[in-house]
């Protein structure tokens, strides 16, 4: 029996729509339409970055920003690699051209730890065996810059275990978190003493007096910029640092069930928002917050967050929708409220936004 062609078309359409509906209903972590839009927004962001890449492959003449932008490409849903051409290989060459004798990867003397941390993460994402030695040397450089007995600091000093920008010895949780991400990405052995010392500093940046021996410590579970001081006043907790702290705790091997992680997550629940960097003045560091928010919640592994009023939020949907609403027509992002911490630089902010979108729209391996 011959099937009428029109009926076949209708049946095919119905089957296709059923299959799409089934896929949508089964998407374990986020709204599939938002995922699709989020990936398209990441594409636009990467398009902006390509348009603004310098001839030598760098962005903003900075190792740190170049490494972040490189990572945005390499970790995207497009799965870019060194096989894809000069827009990937040139930034890698730029990073390698800035490798110093002591292992640092930096174009300047005052941001050596920050730049080296970002460069390690970028080179690890490139997954090339020929970079292993550079990565190992850079890892040793970071370990060498951790504040400890070698610099004359005793374990009871508030700086102990911390890592700062690199041009001075003042450590802070922001640089610490960048370094921890790099050390973790480059697979520093779990029994390396660097982790234990790092944990000392991390918990001294947390407002939790049970685990923080500093006299200023409050008890909301959030994190501040460095022991006893926040750029937003006093030593109060704020969004960017609390997500950086939560991420740092988990990457340092602290279990999700640990009281310090629970306290940090409770702060996140109580201050859940994507409309601002909670606790920060003038929305300073807003995109740093989005970036750290995506990283920490991806690693934390919960699909939804129940805030302290009992409202449930799908963080992926919320973050993607917010970033979509803030993207400029040329595909870039910039902090419209504050230029502090480099957030007037479209290359940096776009790289952060794309990395956040990559994480938010990625299907976690254990979600099926």
């Amino acid at each position: 029996m011959k099937f009428p062609r029109s009926i076949g078309t209708v049946l095919a359409t119905v089957m296709l729509s059923f299959s799409l509906h089934a896929t949508a209903a089964e998407d374990p972590v986020m709204d599939p339409e938002l995922r699709s839009k989020g990936r398209r927004a990441a594409d636009y962001g990467m398009h902006y970055l390509r348009q603004n890449q310098a001839e030598d492959g760098s962005w903003s003449k900075s190792v740190g920003i170049t490494a972040l932008a490189l990572r945005a490409f390499l970790e995207s849903h497009r799965g870019y690699s060194t096989q894809d051409g000069a827009f990937i290989t040139r930034p890698i060459a730029f990073l390698l051209a800035n490798v110093k004798k002591d292992g640092a990867i930096s174009e300047s003397l005052q941001n050596t730890n920050y730049n080296t941390s970002a460069a390690i993460a970028g080179l690890v994402a490139a997954q090339r065996p020929e970079h292993e030695e550079v990565i190992r040397n850079a890892q040793n450089f970071l370990k060498g810059h951790q504040i400890d007995e070698a610099e004359g600091y005793a374990p009871d000093h508030a700086y102990y275990g911390g890592i700062g920008y690199g041009g001075d010895e003042r450590p802070d949780l922001s640089n610490m978190y960048m370094a921890i991400e790099a050390l973790s990405a480059s697979k520093l052995a779990a029994d390396d003493p660097t982790w234990a010392k790092a944990l000392t500093f991390i918990q001294r940046s947390q407002n939790r007096s049970e685990s923080n021996d500093q006299p200023w410590a409050a008890n909301d579970g959030g994190f501040t910029y460095m022991p006893g001081w926040s750029p937003h006043g006093g030593s109060g907790s704020y969004g960017g640092m609390t997500h950086a702290g939560l991420f740092s705790l988990m990457m340092s091997g602290v279990a999700k069930s640990d009281a310090r992680v629970k306290a940090a997550f409770d702060w996140v629940r109580a201050n859940y928002t994507v409309d601002e960097n909670p606790g920060a003045k003038n929305n300073d560091g807003l995109f740093y917050y989005y970036n750290a928010f995506a990283k920490s919640l991806y690693v934390y592994g919960e699909k939804e967050i129940e805030d302290s009023k009992g409202m449930r939020h799908n963080w992926r949907n919320d973050l993607v929708a917010k970033l979509l609403s803030m993207q400029a027509k040329d595909g870039s992002w910039v902090n419209p409220y504050s230029k502090q911490w480099g957030e007037g630089d479209k290359n940096l902010v776009t790289a952060w936004a794309v990395i956040a979108l990559n994480l938010a729209t990625r299907v976690p391996p254990d979600s099926h």
Partner: protein, 259 residues
């Protein structure tokens, strides 16, 4: 110099100038004051990074050395350029000596030498500014005070210009490069703007900036200093007929007694 200022009594009385002994006494006083100030500043801070120590020493020495410039007491004779250059060199030597006394970096010449060079260049620039401005007829003492205040304002530029840099009314680079302290910090390889005290008081620490290029800035400062001294010498030579003694490049410590 044709200064309308009433001169200090000892200068106008025709007394001998500071002489070699006066020069040495000032140098010793400079070292003692710088060392005392350093310890007074550092002791409550506990352990201080070596680069921070170099920076503090260089800044304190520069400040005290400029306060004690010997030629200010020889105003009637004009500014002896030789004394100023020698004093700049002595200030640089004092930095090296102080670092050695502190027991740190004694063998790290590569680390301590830039601190001394920076003090030499900055001191020369400050002296050159005094010499050049003094030719405008303001008098050495007044000019010295003006340059001192300008130097202090320049050193503190990150604090008072930092908020403007945060709003991009002026570029962070401009603010950083206007500061003598930033220059010294760049020379000793210490990111002073991200030091805890500065980081907590100026928004510059959270921005992208770079310190003034060491070699170029050193040459510019030295050139500005020499230029200022030359300008003063030329002016004095032109006004010799008015009874103003010419600006000299010899070491004129005993010249007065020979007159």
């Amino acid at each position: 110099m044709s200064s309308p200022d009433p001169l200090p009594s000892k200068a106008s009385s025709g007394r001998r100038g500071p002489g070699v002994m006066g020069f040495l006494w000032r140098l010793l006083l400079l070292i003692a004051l710088a060392e005392t100030s350093l310890f007074a500043l550092m002791s409550p801070l506990g352990r201080v990074p070596a680069a921070a120590m170099r920076l503090s020493l260089a800044a304190i020495t520069l400040f005290i050395a400029f306060l004690l410039v010997p030629s200010l007491h020889r105003e009637r004779d004009g500014l002896p350029a030789g004394v100023l250059v020698a004093w700049s060199a002595a200030s640089a030597a004092a930095v090296l000596l102080l670092l050695a006394i502190n027991g740190r970096n004694t063998l790290e010449l590569a680390a301590t030498l830039p601190a001394a060079i920076a003090v030499f260049a900055a001191m020369l620039a400050l002296c050159g500014a005094v010499a050049a401005l003094a030719t405008l007829g303001m008098g050495l003492h007044r000019t010295h005070r003006i340059v001192l205040i300008a130097g202090l304002l320049s050193g503190a530029a990150p604090l008072w210009l930092g908020p403007l840099a945060a709003t991009w009314a002026i570029a962070p680079e401009v603010t950083v490069r206007l500061s003598l302290l930033s220059y010294l910090a760049g020379m000793v390889d210490y990111d002073v703007l991200r030091d805890q005290w500065f980081y907590q008081r100026t928004p510059l620490g959270g921005m992208r900036y770079s310190y003034p290029p060491a070699l170029v800035t050193t040459l510019l400062l030295a050139a500005a200093g020499i230029g200022g001294l030359l300008a003063a010498a030329r002016r004095d030579r032109m006004r010799r007929g008015e009874g103003v003694r010419p600006f000299r490049f010899l070491f004129p410590l005993h010249e007065e007694s020979a007159r």
